[in-house]
Symmetry: C2
Subunit: 287 residues, 2 copies
């Protein structure tokens, strides 16, 4: 294992995996080394370019903290996240399609009881989101858990914005006996992903815009069913066909309409017309 | 650009590079996306495996600081560094072969005048390193700059070891009118690369040892010539054929012998026999 050359390097590095006991780890490392070397052989980086790559990756790692995950963002904008998602969720008819988790999910949002209001004092257009969670036969699932989160009208999540209280526009809730849920929030907006880091610089360098179409994030779970991580997108959003993280699917693009129903308005202390969106989630049974 | 699937995701992400003005950047990003997606398609990671990868890369980035470069170490142990090196230095007869820079190079080591002693108060077996720097015709190059560094006998570089003064076992020196150089150091030892980070854990998981054969690092440069980053390895070292970073080349493995020359011993205030190594560096003219 001396005198590694362009021709022999990959084989020599692969041979070093002979002692790998975990067969899955061995398969992953083998594929990684082959593709990584293939990339290097194809582009033949100068030493300055290699060092620029090292610096970029280092900066991505160092941009991460408790509330910012720049490597997830990198995975998102390179389409890796949606590819992993599509591989893991080959969806059948009637079940909700998945989308990317995104870098701003925070575990442990408060579990709220009806009437569920995640907007608190947030200024913005009130929005009522409602629907049911159903099993593959269309029957409602009672006690399913919805974990929802979104940005404020300024395009920032609570963890990016010191003016928002912790867990603003986040919340967990359970479906009622009929599988129903309803909560009050504010109309989501399209917004740029965080561009103050290396991933933002990369997008700029390749001439890509950083915008995501307006959306609300959901993780929907229920005992005995596979959890679904997804997003609902606002139909008609100008970025609906150029999402910076490739998360849009037709079945997740829904009309955020208006309701003149006086009962609904009264229930939430609003004046009609009230902005609303309705969506039924379909879960499949746990394998 | 909606409804990305396993089949369409790569093409959709590549289309987003249409606005990339820099043709080199476009080529690099195109190749990166193809190979990265190829890797994902081949291994079909679970979401937990994807997240483990995100966490690993984040940890590598966060392990880096002013004196530690864990991404270079990762590049080294995956054979990427030596591959980039071999692509950039297709060497001709008579010119010194290159090897990896390693993560512990520190710019700005003191420029020392003869007699050059980089060992200072370091305990260990004294070693005299000498030779010439030559041009492609074999003629000596006066005033060439050698930047050298190595570990102490405890296997640690100064920047890893608070017991060593700054720039211990590092120094820069110029060749004399005959292209000659000579300096005193201590005999290098084989040592493990830093294993207290994610790269060390990865090596352990794949059953690889972390050792490098004993060596002295050099960057040799001279006006009008291409600089050479290389290492001299101790012939007979037990790890000479299994270097954890794949840096060993036959032409860089040299006998670290003994000299009974009383003049040499007296010049350095030593008692014969004195451990010595001689090596002539060959530089090629700048393109």
């Amino acid at each position: 294992m001396r005198n590694l050359t362009e021709e022999t390097a990959t084989e020599a590095v692969l041979e070093k995996l002979e002692g790998t006991e975990d067969p899955r780890l061995k398969a992953v490392m083998t594929s990684l080394i082959k593709h990584l070397h293939g990339f290097i052989r194809e582009i033949e980086p100068t030493e300055e370019e290699w060092m620029a790559g090292i610096r970029f990756l280092t900066e991505v790692g160092q941009k991460c903290d408790d509330v910012r995950q720049e490597f997830i963002l990198l995975s998102d904008v390179l389409g890796v996240t949606i590819l992993v998602d599509s591989i893991n969720h080959r969806v059948s008819e009637g079940l909700t399609e998945t989308s990317v988790l995104g870098p701003f999910y925070v575990d442990g949002a408060p579990l709220l009881s009806p009437p569920v209001d995640i907007a608190g004092a947030t200024e913005g257009t009130p929005l009522i989101v409602s629907g049911r969670v159903r099993d593959p036969d269309g029957a409602p699932i009672a006690g399913a858990l919805l974990d929802v989160w979104q940005t404020a009208p300024n395009g920032l999540y609570d963890v990016q914005d010191s003016d928002q209280p912790a867990f603003n526009l986040r919340g967990r809730m359970r479906t009622d006996a009929d599988g129903g849920y309803e909560f009050r929030t504010v109309l989501p907006v399209s917004y740029p992903i965080a561009t103050d880091g290396p991933v933002g610089r990369m997008l700029e360098a390749v001439g890509r815009h950083p915008y995501r179409p307006a959306h609300v994030h959901f993780i929907v779970s229920a005992e005995g069913f596979a959890p679904v991580t997804t997003q609902l997108f606002v139909e008609g959003d100008p970025y609906i066909d150029s999402d910076a993280v490739f998360g849009v699917k037709d079945t997740l693009v829904v009309p955020f309409g208006e309701s003149d129903d006086p009962t609904l308005a009264e229930r939430w202390g609003l004046v009609p017309p009230v902005r609303t969106v309705a969506y039924d989630f379909g879960l499949k049974r746990q394998a």
